[in-house]
């Protein structure tokens, strides 16, 4: 299955990609705090959007890709906006400001993650003192997540092929049982991975954890 993943564009060469990972990390975190904390006016919003758009251009990220990912915050925004007419305490401006904060934050996040390859990020985290076994687990999650999604998809497809007109109850039961099998298969896979690791010399006492 073709996966859309944030790392797609992280291997490009642009001035932003070339920045040192720690710089990117610090700037990114600073931006997040800024967007969360600063009292916002429309003027500031405009400036921020401009700045981030500029960043997107410099990093040569396709706009469609960025916009698509930004849509994630929509459900939450709808939730907030939906209750404006019902409760006088909130105003449209407040909702608008929240929306602005959310969109700016997510744009910064997309910019950050699209300009730093995942393994570089993990390296940086490791240098910042995150324990080695945590980095290893992160690494595994990233590696096997797509594999599991594919497995799940295959199971779901197989079940749909055998029962096209299902009741919701049936769907729930089938999906749950598939999850049960998936967790078992995952466990067994982890046993094989451990064997593969042992085969290549992985041993507790020697590796620095």
């Amino acid at each position: 299955m073709r996966h859309s993943f944030i790392d797609k564009y992280s291997d490009l060469t642009t001035p932003i990609h070339a920045l040192h990972p720690r710089v990117k990390l610090l700037v990114f975190l600073a931006l997040l705090f800024y967007f969360a904390a600063v009292p916002i006016t429309w003027w500031i919003v405009g400036l921020n959007v401009l700045g981030l758009t500029l960043g997107t251009l410099i990093a040569r990220l396709p706009f469609r890709f960025v916009l698509k990912r930004m849509m994630i915050v929509l459900p939450f925004l709808v939730l907030i906006i939906l209750f404006i007419p019902l409760f006088q305490e909130q105003s449209w401006t407040d909702a608008g400001i929240t929306a602005a904060r959310a969109f700016c934050s997510i744009l910064a996040l997309i910019l950050f993650m699209s300009t730093i390859p995942f393994r570089v990020l993990l390296d940086e985290l490791s240098r910042l003192g995150v324990p080695k076994f945590v980095i290893q687990v992160f690494s595994f999650i990233y590696r096997y997540f797509f594999v599991l999604i594919d497995e799940l998809e295959r199971m779901e497809l197989a079940s749909r092929a055998r029962a096209p007109n299902r009741s919701r109850k049936h769907y729930y039961t089938a999906l749950s049982r598939m999850l049960g099998m998936l967790i078992i298969r995952s466990y067994e896979r982890s046993e094989r991975i451990y064997q593969a690791m042992q085969l290549r010399g992985y041993d507790w006492e020697e590796s620095e954890v």
Partner: protein, 247 residues
């Protein structure tokens, strides 16, 4: 000259009681390519796991004269390059480079040696320049070759492959066969791809019910219809003299 690999009367029982190998005895000499064939459940994979020191049973296994035991298991293990059937189980790092250097690093080699080993291994499997690629996004043929590279990087004495051609399309399979033919390393290939074994191996071993049934030249063995069918195998198509109906 001592055999490279020796199984002597090796028996292994799984925790639930099933006997996987029973009095298993076979040798592999230096610079040989041996094919192990047999029906599912015959004990092929178990034998390979035992050879790699991942499981321990009764009897003796010797690698280049040294007896394999729990205490020297770790060192001897790196001399046996076992490649699993499913590369996804064996490629567990985010990038090809990290997977290939995992073994050498664990062997304690220094950075220069590690890097050199990785480069040579990737060259040997004809995937130079793949270092930064993410294993998940490779084709099955490429994954299989990277998996082989991960064990070649440790410079083992013998390459052991479990069902290497599963899930490979004909082109990838052909390329894998060309690769294996070009590698000058003792090899064991276990599996069902009889044509592969015919082309690549100088000797074949038929096993069933955990024991060796017969060993000999692949062509001779595989032509023996009775022998093959007794062991739930079939004469490979290329050796059939008569076109039989599908039955």
């Amino acid at each position: 000259m001592t055999s490279l690999i020796e199984f002597e009367n090796y028996t292994y029982r799984y925790p639930d009681g099933t006997t996987a190998l029973s009095g298993f005895t076979m040798n592999v000499e230096q610079r040989e390519r041996v094919g192990i064939v047999g029906p599912n459940g015959a004990g092929k994979t178990t034998a390979l796991l035992a050879l790699s020191g991942l499981i321990f049973g009764e009897g003796t296994i010797r690698i280049d004269g040294e007896t394999l035991q729990k205490k020297n298991g770790r060192q001897l293990r790196s001399r046996v390059g076992l490649v699993f059937q499913n590369p996804d189980d064996q490629l567990f790092m985010p990038t090809v480079y990290e997977d290939v250097v995992f073994g050498p690093k664990n062997l304690g080699w220094n950075a220069a040696q590690v890097d050199k080993a990785a480069k040579e291994a990737l060259d040997a499997v004809e995937l130079p320049g793949y270092e930064q690629k993410s294993s998940h996004h490779l084709s099955s043929g490429e994954k299989k070759r990277v998996a082989i590279a991960t064990v070649l990087a440790m410079q083992p004495d013998i390459l052991v492959l479990d069902e290497p051609t599963t899930n490979l399309d004909p082109h990838a399979r052909r390329r894998l066969m060309q690769l294996l033919a070009s590698l000058e390393i003792s090899t064991i290939i276990a599996g069902h791809d009889l044509e592969l074994i015919l082309e690549l191996c100088t000797r074949a071993v038929i096993i069933n019910n955990g024991a060796v049934i017969k060993t000999g030249e692949p062509k001779e063995l595989f032509q023996d219809k009775l022998l093959m069918e007794e062991n739930y195998l079939e004469v490979p198509y290329s050796l059939r003299k008569v076109r039989e109906d599908v039955y």
